[in-house]
């Protein structure tokens, strides 16, 4: 069986490496490794492009983490802490809608999970500390809240709903790393199926009408627990088999 092709949304970012300082199309290698370790072949989908035709050649897609989603997409004014990349928003919301329309297997990670809610008519809390009174969902950049000896800042449990894909994947609860200050308020056409038990922040959403469309608020690609990537790759593999048999 040939490997399913998994698109990963990439972004444009000024990066510094060696003696170079360039505007690059880029993505942390952790996402690529997560796809390759679980049996897929990763390709990066650049945001600077208006079309969705590339989806026809993919077997699955991951909407990756990154900055905030623009509140104009659900009719709100930006919070002072909100930082938006409009080009990336427009490209990813369009790709998300097209991917769901085609029933392409979809995994949303952090920002990607939020894009899944917004693209299906939902909305976000723009700054969690205003809602829950603390910033413990946002670990410091560059840290690993799941490392042995780390404090519990940026680490928390997630509980899942019965009879959900989330429950099938994780059982009743799991422990996650957390790097965000926005969160899903209204999941749109999706359904919330996982929460942080301490503060009821939505951590997992699913699209009930799709074969595989799952969003997680944390960063599994930075951990050794790649169950969501394995599930995506399996769904992508199934889709290829069905397409080949048709």
């Amino acid at each position: 069986m040939r490997r399913p092709l998994i698109g990963l949304t990439a972004y444009a970012q000024h990066v510094h490496f060696g003696r170079n300082d360039v505007m690059a199309g880029m993505l942390p290698m952790t996402y690529v490794r997560a796809v390759h370790v679980t049996g897929g072949r990763a390709v990066l989908i650049t945001p600077d492009d208006p079309g969705t035709d590339v989806l026809e050649t993919l077997d699955g897609i991951v909407f990756t983490g990154g900055g905030d989603v623009g509140p104009g997409h659900w009719g709100a004014e930006p919070h002072p802490e909100t930082e938006v990349d409009e080009v990336r928003d427009a490209a990813e919301i369009m790709l998300m809608r097209a991917a769901l329309e085609q029933d392409l297997p979809v995994l949303g990670v952090c920002r990607g999970h939020q894009v899944m809610a917004v693209a299906t008519g939902g909305s976000l809390h723009q700054h969690l500390p205003d809602l829950i009174g603390h910033d413990r969902h946002r670990a410091a950049v560059g840290t690993d809240p799941l490392a042995a000896g780390a404090g519990d800042y940026g680490r928390h449990d997630v509980v899942t709903a019965d009879h959900s894909l989330a429950h099938d994947l994780f059982g009743r609860h799991t422990t996650v790393n957390s790097f965000h200050h926005q969160a899903v308020a209204d999941p749109g056409r999706c359904v919330a199926t996982g929460w942080c038990p301490d503060d009821r922040v939505v951590e997992i959403i699913e699209h009930p009408g799709r074969t595989f469309a799952l969003g997680v608020q944390w960063h599994p690609e930075r951990t050794s627990d790649l169950r969501v990537f394995a599930a995506l790759v399996a769904a992508a593999m199934n889709r290829r088999k069905v397409a080949a048999a048709a």
Partner: protein, 230 residues
């Protein structure tokens, strides 16, 4: 549907947005923009030497610039100025060989041209100043040097470039022997600047950086060849 052009990438420890030296897949955005402006759909290909599976979604392959290729691919020991990235070599050569098997359109830029040459039995000069006695192909860090090239009349590259033969270079290695490829363009000092295989649908390597100016002459030709195939 637009033809899909796969662009090879680096994996480098990169620093951005609060992350320091985080292993990152990246390639200058210029390449994707040049493909987009020429009417293609760019996707970026992280190095992966397991297989060439990804070719099934591609209509064309763009081998991007970057560090030196390992001299072992052309039978030499590394010189003291040679900086290599072996895992990228292996992943790109695997893709290139499979692309050539399928006669997929291929454009090689700078390092990509040098990879084309090595894959066709040619050799490189590992450090041009040692050979040419000047540094006009790489005048300073992050500075492209402009010069005029001379193209072989009737070649693909001569037809694409037309009357404007100014090229922008940034490299310290160069083609010594193009192997089975044909040299179709040279700098004023005689260094090969363009190679092609006239027997193939589209196989072109250029030593300069057409992506910086989004040169639609070259990227347009790649996209058009890819469209004819798709």
């Amino acid at each position: 549907m637009r033809p899909i052009i796969g662009i090879t990438t680096y994996v480098m420890p990169a620093t951005w947005g609060g992350w320091n030296d985080l292993p990152t897949v990246l390639v200058p955005r210029d390449y994707a923009e040049a493909v987009t402006l020429a009417g293609g759909r760019a996707v970026l290909l992280p190095p992966d030497d397991r297989d060439a599976d990804v070719l099934r979604m591609l209509d064309g392959l763009l081998l991007s610039g970057g560090p030196d290729i390992s001299p072992r691919w052309y039978g030499q020991e590394p010189g003291r100025h040679t900086v290599t990235h072996p895992e990228r070599d292996e992943a790109e050569l695997l893709l290139l060989e499979a692309a050539l098997d399928r006669d997929l359109p291929v454009l090689g830029v700078c390092r990509g041209m040098q990879l084309l040459v090595a894959a066709h039995g040619g050799t490189l000069h590992q450090h041009l100043p040692d050979v040419l006695g000047h540094e006009r192909h790489r005048v300073a860090p992050a500075v492209y040097s402009e010069h005029d090239a001379v193209f072989v009349p009737g070649s693909r590259i001569a037809g694409l470039m037309g009357g404007d033969v100014t090229i922008n270079c940034f490299h310290h290695q160069g083609v010594a022997d193009a192997g089975k490829l044909t040299v179709t363009g040279r700098a004023e000092d005689g260094l090969p600047e363009a190679v092609e295989d006239p027997d193939r649908r589209f196989l072109l390597g250029v030593q300069w950086h057409p992506e910086v100016s989004r040169d639609v002459r070259l990227f347009g030709a790649l996209v058009q060849a890819a469209a004819e195939r798709s």
